[in-house]
C-alpha cells in the first residue's frame, strides 16, 4: 500500500523534508531550534525592549481608557467590556507582544552574515527546518512574553470568563500568531539580507494592530475601518481572545482566531521558504 500525505507519496515527502539521508526532519528541527534558543538565553538583554513595550501598552491603555470603558460604563451602550476593561484590552497587549517575533528575522540575518546559513547549505539539512527553527523560536519568545503580560494582567484585575483554561487557549493562539509574525520577519530578513530590512518590515505591525478592533469592538468602528478590519487577521485573533476573556467559550470566534493565526503562520512559512530558495539558488 502506498502511503500518501496530502496526496504526496510518503517517501517523496520524507526526502523533501529530510534532504536525503542524514538526520530526520524532527532531529534537524530540534537541533537547529535548540541552538537558536541557546543564543537567545545567552543574550537575554536583547529580549527586554519588546517585553517592556507590551507592558507599557497594557498600562497606558488601561490608565487612559479604564474610566471611560470600565466599570463606570456599566449600564450604558459602551459597556462592551462588561465592567472589566483589563479583560478587554489584555488581548491587544498580548497581540502586540508578537512584535518580539520579529527578532527571528534578525536572528536569521545574523546567520546569513556570519556564514552559518551557507554552512547549513553545504550539509544535508532541509530548508524547511532552517526556516522553521527561527520561526519556532520566535513563537516561543512570543509565548513567553504573552505569559508575562498575562501575569501582569492578572495582577491588575484580569479575570477570564472561561477560567484559567481560557488562559491556556489564549497562549496557544498567541503561539500560532507569534509564529506567523516570526515567519514574516524571517522572509523579510532573507529578502533584504540585512538586519535593517528585517527591522523595517516590522512596520507592517502597526497597521496590523490598529486597523483592527483595538480599543473598541468592531461594531463601534467607523465604516471604512470596520471594512478594512474584516480583512485583517489580527481582528480575528483579538476577537477570539476577547471572547474567551469576556464572554466565555464561543467556539465560532475561537475557531476563527485559530484559523486566522494558523493560516497566517502557514502562509508566512511558505513565503519564507520560497524566499530562501531564491536566496540560496546556485549561481
Amino acid at each position: 500500500m502506498k502511503i500518501t500525505v496530502l496526496g504526496i507519496p510518503r517517501e517523496l515527502l520524507a526526502m523533501a523534508l529530510n534532504g536525503t539521508s542524514g538526520a530526520t526532519f524532527g532531529v534537524q528541527l530540534r537541533v537547529l531550534t535548540k541552538r537558536l534558543m541557546i543564543r537567545v538565553i545567552r543574550r537575554p538583554y536583547t529580549e527586554l525592549p519588546t517585553v517592556l513595550i507590551s507592558a507599557f501598552f497594557l498600562f497606558v491603555y488601561v490608565g487612559q481608557l479604564d474610566k471611560v470603558f470600565g466599570g463606570s460604563a456599566m449600564p450604558s451602550s459602551i459597556d462592551f467590556s462588561k465592567g472589566n476593561f483589563v479583560n478587554f484590552i489584555l488581548p491587544f497587549s498580548i497581540v502586540s507582544a508578537s512584535i518580539s517575533g520579529a527578532s527571528s528575522g534578525i536572528n536569521l540575518v545574523e546567520d546569513i552574515e556570519s556564514g552559518v546559513f551557507r554552512r547549513y547549505q553545504a550539509m544535508p539539512i532541509s530548508r524547511w527546518a532552517v526556516i522553521l527553527a527561527p520561526m519556532l523560536v520566535g513563537a516561543l519568545r512570543v509565548l513567553l512574553q504573552s505569559g508575562l503580560i498575562l501575569g501582569l494582567g492578572i495582577l491588575i484585575g484580569a479575570s477570564p470568563a472561561t477560567g484559567s483554561l481560557g488562559f491556556v487557549v489564549i497562549l496557544g493562539i498567541a503561539f500560532l500568531w507569534g509564529m506567523g509574525f516570526a515567519g514574516y520577519s524571517v522572509a523579510a530578513g532573507i529578502r533584504s539580507g540585512s538586519a535593517q530590512g528585517a527591522q523595517a518590515a516590522t512596520f507592517l505591525f502597526f497597521p496590523a494592530l490598529f486597523i483592527a478592533p483595538t480599543f473598541v469592538p468592531r461594531e463601534a468602528l467607523s465604516g471604512w475601518l470596520s471594512s478594512a478590519a474584516a480583512f485583517n487577521p489580527t481582528t480575528y485573533v483579538i476577537e477570539a481572545m476577547r471572547g474567551i476573556m469576556i464572554d466565555g467559550w464561543i467556539y465560532e470566534s475561537i475557531l476563527k482566531g485559530v484559523i486566522a493565526s494558523g493560516l497566517f503562520a502557514l502562509i508566512t512559512l511558505s513565503f519564507a521558504v520560497i524566499s530562501a530558495r531564491k536566496a540560496t539558488e546556485k549561481n
Binding site: 537541533v31 543564543r39 545567552r42 556570519s114 552559518v116 546559513f117 553545504a122 550539509m123 544535508p124
Partner: protein
Amino acid sequence: MLTTLLRPTNGSASILGLDVDKDDAAVRHKIGVALQENGIDEVLTGKELTQSTGQLWGLSKSKASKRSAELLSLVGLTDAANRRVKTYSGGMKRRLDLALSLIHKPEILFLDEPTTGLDPGSRRVLWNEIVRLRNEGVTIILTTQYLEEADTLADRIAIIDNGVVKVEGTPDDLKASIGGDIVMFSFETKETAERAANILKNSELIGRELRTTVENGPQSIPNLCSVLRDNKIEVVSVSSSRPTLDDVFLKVTGHKLETVKANENNSIGDPTRASSDGA
C-alpha cells in the same frame, strides 16, 4: 563549484563518480569543506557546536557526543571545549573549523586557505593535522597563497593563474621543469646589472639583481663570474639554489616578483592532492 555551493557555468564535473550538479546531496556526504572559520556560531561552545553538527549529519546523540570529544582532542581543543567560540584565538577557530568539516568522515576534504593569517606556531599545528589526515587516506584539496605550504603538504600541485590551470604535477616534477639550479647575482648599481644582463644569455633582470638558470649551479658559478670579470663587471654577491616553487610560479605565470608583491590577491590557487586515490 566542486563543493556543490555553486553551479557550473558550463561543462560538468564529478566527484567519486557523482555529478556535482545533479547529485549534489550525495556529493555533500562524501566531502568536507572548511570555510576559513566562516559560519561558526561564536555564541556556542566548541563542544555544543561539534555535537550539534554531528547530530545534523545524522549521528545519534550519544554518537555525536563521542565524535565531538574525539575530534576536539584530535585538533587539540579538549581544554577549550566548554568555552564559547568567541573566546577562541584565530588558530583555535581554524582548528575547530577543521574538526567541523571532519565530523561525517568525508572521503575528500576541501580546505580553502586554511592557514591564511595564522601565526607560524598555529600553522605548524594545522599542517601536522593535515598530514595526519592525508596519511589516513583522506584526499585533501587545498588552496593556498603560500607556496611553501604547498611544497610541504602536497603530493600534487596545480598552479592556477587567472582561472586557468597553468601547470600540474608533483612538487619535484614542477621544480625539475625549471631545468637546473637558480644562480642569483647582485650588483652595485642598476646599470651594472643591465650590462651583465646583456652578456649572460637566458637571464632575467630584477632591479640590481640578475637571475639565471643553469644545469648545475655550484659548478658553473666560477665560469660565469670569470666571464663577468673579463667584461669588467663587479659582482657584489652570487648564490646558487635549488629551484623552489616560487621559481616555478614565476616561470609559469610570467609574473615578476614585484607584481606578485604588489598584488596580494593574485589568483594563486594551489589545489594539492594528497594520497594516491585521486579525486
